[in-house]
Subunit: 500 residues, 2 copies
């Protein structure tokens, strides 16, 4: 078996190298590539992706994994070797399910759909995107047929982003959560609004950038194994655990988006930088799922970065940099301002109290689309009705409604719920760590994040993809993904801010 | 044959994609990679290089090229199809000559040699590098045995960088050139030295950077298909003809190095940006040879960028930016200053009149090393004697002597002469174009480089690797590489500056 493991390591290392190269090509594409390079960049990324796929789905790999799987009964099911084999085999089985012709067709359909979506959003005209979305849905309906039957076809889509997660579980979580979030939002809306005019003044970009670097450094981001660059859309890109880059966006009208965006991407980056080096160049070297990943980014952005304790340490530093804008703003006013709750049409601008409602709406529509229980042409109307229902507002146009997100045009159904799951998991982990470490708030007050990071490293980061998300959350907190801690967190936080 | 050509295009396109990806990995490594990424970057580049090599030396490729070669007699030997087949087949034959075990051994030896060279240069202690250089030479001696016997074993090394070039040709060129260059240098040294104190004042980096961008733009560098970034060592990197990047270096003590370095790299970039798009993703998409490439970079740096006509247009603009430093420096003083001849120990800092002498010295040593007619341990002594002989100076230590260049530690013998050949070719092309276009100087005086660029595009750039260097030079100028125009150019230029 040692020789077979050695062979597996060699094969996956090459595949990882190709994927890392593609990750860098993607990073460069969004950060530094001149426009002329776009066409050949598409070729390069296509070729590298194809080679990685060919290598991973090769007969040699199939035979090797089949052989290795025969050894699983002899191994500790919680041990690294067992998991390396089983996770890689699971990836292999999923990769070999889908015929290459389907992948090619998907690439074509989504390339057209993305173009149409850009035009539709620009013109705020859903009819331009509608026929493409119909094809995307049809593709997704066909996609699930390549896999063994699941309890619900949507399970197969979810599994791509949140391995092992079931539609029934997500539905149950969200069904419990929705009335509580809607109720909280109604209660907040009855109370006097907090003041946040100071967030909309003129701020200097470089000063805000430098402050965000100071915060990322304090969080524990390792600059020797990463870097930060400006982009149109912020993201985190791992090119292997020792080269994990973040990007940030400066929008003069939203000066704090750079700061909180940096905290968010730093959260993702700390996860990737923290994966145990023994997983390097294996199938396990990344994060457990998008939901677990989002739990890390949201925790550093929200539980840490929007907490009063954090700002007790950092607010004087920020005030010092922005005397004009913040000289007359007290810590308390600042804290309330950055936590203002305000239902809005745009998901990516949503606050902590409304964000999940945007997700629930999308999840319900995705399930209905996949089931075929809704006509695609009716989506704008249903979208708006749900917005009214959950958030009490109706988008002024489809560009700010059903057309706002890129995901569906990219063929991705099943992705959105990971954002909300991330919120829930972040609160669940936060509650757990607070119970283990009652000094947490005092540590934040001192700008000391080392205990938090060490705990996340030990419990989450180091394991990479060793555990499935539900399993990981249960190992760490004692229960599966549970919305209760998030509701408690929201109620406590906003109860205090809005005097509920 | 059409189906076979189509297949060839598909295969080489994938290989080109891999090579382009590797080019970007290399660019990023020198420009933006955080230090932690170094180890995995080595893995990534190794894997991509190996895959490209495997694909290119595959049986499928061998069979396909063998079949295509049978059609050559039916084709026009100057036509694109003929050349596509013959150049690719030639590359294939060269790639399949060398056993993979040798390539692996070479990688190991040079990795060690480079480390040793860094230490040896830092300590200025040749004995640290000596045993590694012995191995490098031994590797090169073995390398040539894999190829069909040549007139001289050094031919095989030359051929890697300067396809088709013979040692006897290079020797004949340099043997004719050396006494003339030595004589010119002696004559210059008898004359009063020109003043260049203004070049060693404090200059502002950003202002010089902006000016260098203005010059590169005027030359015709297409910023939509390129970009410029700061690095420790300037270079040009093509990631395909539509993404050709240059880098520049700021050294406060040598403020003009950034400007002339940018002109030089722009010259390389104009070549790569000018290759005909029909060669995209084929074996022919790059430059004909290192010597031809260097002819382009040196022409834009020297024949253009160090000419009086160029500065008649640009000097007022530079003066405007640097009033303090240049306010009292006349155009004539400036022109003389930037063309000051001063023998120095370091090749990369050498002026036009001394540069080739540095190369001749290296070529003679390389041939002697390969022939085994010199003991490696005696190199420092021989180096210094030749420096005295050709340049009239002796390096104060080996760091500034035999240890100054990285090439040998990287296993590269045969590379250096391409720099000098580039100088010669640049003068030869320049002379030809002046004869065709008597208005050239007037165009330069107006900052108009469009006629020059259009001619280079048509005669050199568009062809990519279609022609071998000697063939290309002969097609354009009517004769093979010839040192006479360079000597005439030097004598005219320095005769005027130094009043010879």
């Amino acid at each position: 078996m040692q020789a077979q493991l050695q062979k597996l390591t060699e094969l996956t290392a090459e595949i990882a190298d190709l994927n890392h190269a593609n990750a860098l090509l993607g990073w460069d594409q969004h950060v530094y590539m001149p426009p002329g390079g776009a066409e050949e960049r598409g070729n390069m990324m296509g070729t590298l992706g194809k080679l990685a796929h060919e290598k991973f789905t090769s007969e040699e790999m199939g035979k090797l994994l089949a052989d290795l799987k025969t050894h699983l009964p002899e191994l500790d099911a919680d041990g690294d070797t067992y998991r390396l084999i089983s996770v890689t085999a699971r990836d292999y089985e999923k990769s070999t399910c889908v015929p290459p012709e389907f992948i090619a067709e998907q690439a074509q359909v989504t390339a057209m759909a993305q173009q149409a979506w850009v035009e539709a959003r620009t013109k705020s005209d859903f009819s331009i995107f509608c026929p493409h979305l119909e094809k995307v849905v049809e593709l997704n309906q066909r996609f699930v047929t390549f896999f063994p039957p699941a309890d619900h076809p949507y399970d197969t889509l979810l599994d791509t982003y949140e391995p092992g997660m079931k539609t029934a579980e997500v539905k149950a979580i969200f069904d419990g959560l929705r009335p509580l979030q809607v109720e909280l939002l109604r209660a907040i809306s009855q109370r006097p609004q907090v003041e946040d005019a100071f967030m909309h003044l003129d701020y200097d970009e470089k000063t805000m950038w430098d402050f965000s670097v100071e915060v990322a450094t304090a969080f524990g981001y390792d600059w020797k194994r990463g870097r930060q660059d400006p982009t149109a859309h912020p993201f985190c890109q791992s090119i292997g655990p020792d080269d994990v880059r973040i990007t940030s966006r400066w929008v003069p009208e939203l000066p704090y988006a750079l700061l909180f965006g940096t905290m968010h991407e730093t959260g993702h980056a700390l996860y990737e930088q923290g994966v145990d080096h023994s997983w390097n160049r294996t199938a396990l070297e990344s994060g457990a799922s998008l939901g677990i990943h989002e739990s890390q980014s949201r925790m550093w952005e929200n539980q840490v970065g929007r907490s009063r304790a954090f700002w007790e340490h950092f607010y004087p530093r920020l005030q010092e940099r922005f005397k004009t804008q913040l000289g007359n703003v007290s810590l308390d006013q600042f804290y309330r301002g950055i936590n203002r709750v305000q239902p809005s049409c745009i998901r990516v601008e949503a606050d902590e109290a409304t964000y999940n409602l945007h997700i629930m709406l999308r999840l319900e529509l995705e399930i209905a689309m996949l089931e075929g229980s809704v006509a695609i042409k009716d989506l704008p109307e249903i979208w708006n009705a749900k917005m009214q229902d959950y958030l009490g507002i109706v988008p002024p146009d489809d560009a700010r409604g059903v057309l706002q997100d890129v995901h569906w045009s990219g063929g991705m159904l099943g992705y959105f719920s990971t954002y909300a799951l991330g919120n829930l998991i972040s609160a669940q982990l936060w509650e757990k760590f607070k119970s283990l470490n009652p000094e947490l708030n005092n540590q934040l007050r001192q700008g000391d994040f080392s205990a938090l990071l060490a705990w996340l490293r030990g419990e989450i980061h180091q394991h990479g993809r060793k555990y499935q998300p539900q399993e990981l959350v249960e190992r760490v907190t004692g229960s599966k993904i549970d919305p209760a801690p998030y509701i408690i967190y929201l109620k406590e936080k906003y109860g205090e801010i809005y005097g509920l």
